[in-house]
Subunit: 426 residues, 2 copies
């Protein structure tokens, strides 16, 4: 048996876990590094933020994936850079030497240089952020319901909820918050709910850039009908934690600004010895090798792949997992003596897009799961397809089952049992 | 319709919620005050700490209990004392005037003056504490598994787990941690598990004071067979966060000391205008009125009821709920014109005790639920009874169902899906 090559993978997201599972079958040694001990099912993060799902339903202990793979070792550490010369990954717990390295570190919130927004608003990319947001949302209603609150302006600040960004996350949050408020209506007996406002701000002329215009309009219509104040072409200039200022001079008094306006790569990606784009993503060749390297690859949200397309591939799960499979094949090809220029080129197969808006409401544009026929749909059919796709992809068989039950439960009864404030009480 | 009297209840635990539900049926106005927005099912807290259950399965939004009771208002606030003269409850969000007040504020961890223990060990009374403990337990294994950890003594510190206190919480934690380690054994491929030690320290000569000696011995035997190092007559003198010192001079190098050695009342109870005992509990008369008052009652863990018994009633849920029912009747009697001396006296009906040790192992001594026949049992029968009683009492019908499923799942497959580190990564 030949000496095992050591593949180090940074990030246990969709791309990293998929790649580690593939390579686990081969005669290689794998170290998977992540700063969290769990794999996060990002697409459902907003359901933790809005008290539909519990944490263990979307966060799966990474080690549990590799119970039966003795050649996969997990390391809880934060990557801090790569020394390509010495072939080591730098982490907050020392160096890890590699033969092949794959950067699959995902993305973080992009505030586009808006300092005040970064300091005072709620981002929604990590599990901790989702829990903080959930705690805050519920807490705001408790603050508004205080019998000793005499300042009416202050009370209003607690009842205005602003979401910045009309992408999938912004849309899904807006719809889910409206439904959360429906639950609260039954329980806050002395609160005037006509004063509760959910406002969605989008800097561009429409929402959901990845679906066709008619579905964009459909989405806006559904949200408005549900009571969301959707404002297009509305950019944010400043937020001091109490008053949100808009371009043009309008202000919204609010204690809640949720920032769902964009993503960028983690900071350390720029210290990995490659060239990065404006969003901090590292530029990769067609074979997914980092430009200039013959053993460092990058995939998913932290990679900029732009070959034969007008723009870099989008930061979505299917890109990451498809890239992971190609990198797996390419690493094995290198191990078997192939040259970098002989490696297979990555070709992305677009699986379309879907977003849920509310209970029983979603939009989709792409192939139907399993069957594969292209379909543009909205409403209940799209929602059912959305549910099906997300359940299929959820890690951990047990989670699937409870999530499905909770969704049915939530659909029928509109319950939200996870409304637990975990942040420190003031 | 007569003017509604205002009953203020401090604490949404077993006693407070039970009382509010009872009084909600009457023509009174109720304000339920708690510093958390949820009712916590304390007896299963250790299952959150050991990654069996998710947070929403044992924490239930308090307002959800009173959806249909418009005469019940909830207030999220920390009680700080009572001004009996002016009949107001003092909170961190201002005063709340009452006609009748019921203190049902529960208990907190008692470190018995051990300052170093209080600062460095993990208490296990609140939900945040249980989450912090769970995060820490999992994190310790990650620390021990670091490839760059070269200090062998330091590694050992991460693998010694000490529980202080042989009451129900200590026993249940010890057993659950052993089972959690069984899960880890499959996943930490390069960790030497012969170095992992779980140590239970009890200052007295036996564990579980509330069950007969033969069941105490049975409990110790089961724990030892499972691999727990049970040490009786062993008192703790000091813990600096790294080394635990025992009376007699022995030391245990460990980063994990879980403090399950006793409880006391919340600090503010002493500022409520009554007399308190050594554990800070307020002394109540036979009718549950705070000594010297004609409209302030106290129930549950924060009350010292000692009439016709050698010691104050134990700090367990059945005492709180039985007292709640009596206080409900007594408040209505006062409203209907009765004098304090005419109020009903509280008589505690002892329901026995039970504690689970591990999967399929428990001890019980008391009446069988529903049937009511007294029974002393251990092993699988006691475990089944324990499961049944706890499922019956769990708040929220939905939680019951998922908890039962998780227990079955856990029993058959030994899975622990909630192993999520939520504390900040170092």
């Amino acid at each position: 048996m030949a000496e095992q090559k050591h593949v180090v993978i940074v990030g246990a997201g969709f791309g990293g876990v998929c790649l580690a599972k593939e390579l686990a079958k081969e005669n290689v040694r794998i170290t998977l590094v992540d700063r969290h001990n769990y794999h996060l099912f990002q697409p459902l993060l907003y359901q933790v933020a809005t008290a539909v799902l519990a944490v263990p339903e979307i966060a799966y202990p990474t080690r549990a994936f590799f119970k039966h793979n003795k050649n996969v070792e997990f390391q809880l550490a934060s990557a801090e850079g790569v020394d390509q010369e010495r072939k080591v990954l730098l982490t907050n717990h020392g160096e890890i030497a590699y033969d092949y390295l794959v950067l699959a570190a995902g993305a973080t919130t992009n505030f586009f240089g808006n300092e005040s927004g970064a300091q005072n608003s709620y981002p929604m990319k990590s599990l901790q952020e989702a829990i903080a947001l959930r705690s805050h949302l519920v807490h705001e209603f408790e603050r508004a319901a205080r019998v000793n609150e005499t300042d009416d302006d202050e009370r209003q600040r607690h009842l205005n909820f602003v979401i910045v960004g009309g992408g999938a996350t912004g849309i899904e949050l807006a719809g889910a918050i409206i439904e959360l408020i429906d639950v609260f209506k039954k329980e806050y007996h002395s609160l005037d709910f006509s004063r509760v406002h959910v406002i969605l701000l989008e800097a561009m002329g429409s929402v959901l850039p990845m679906v066709p215009p008619d579905l964009q309009q459909k989405t806006i219509d559904v949200l408005r009908k549900k009571g969301v104040d959707v404002r297009l072409n509305t950019a944010v200039t400043d937020y001091d934690g109490s008053t949100l200022s808009l371009k043009g001079g309008d202000v919204i008094p609010t204690k809640t600004v949720i920032w769902a306006a964009g993503v960028r790569a983690q900071d350390f990606i720029k210290d990995c010895g490659g060239e990065v784009d404006r969003a901090g993503r590292i530029i990769v060749e067609e074979n997914l090798l980092v430009r200039g390297s013959d053993c460092v690859f990058a995939i998913g949200d932290c990679a900029n792949f732009q070959h034969g397309t007008e723009r870099p591939l989008p930061t979505v799960a299917p890109v990451a997992t498809q890239e992971a499979l190609q990198v797996g094949r390419n690493i094995m090809a290198l191990i078997h003596g192939k040259k970098p220029e002989e490696l297979g080129r990555f070709v992305y197969q677009d699986l379309g897009a879907m977003a849920t808006i509310a209970r029983g409401e979603a939009v989709m544009n792409g192939p139907i799961p399993v069957i594969g026929i292209n379909m543009k749909a909205s409403g209940f059919i799209a929602w059912t397809a959305w549910m099906f796709v997300h359940l299929m992809r959820l890690a951990g068989k047990y989670a699937n089952f409870t999530v499905m039950m909770k969704w049915i439960w939530n659909y029928i009864l509109g319950k939200r049992l996870a409304r637990i404030i975990l942040t420190k009480m003031e």
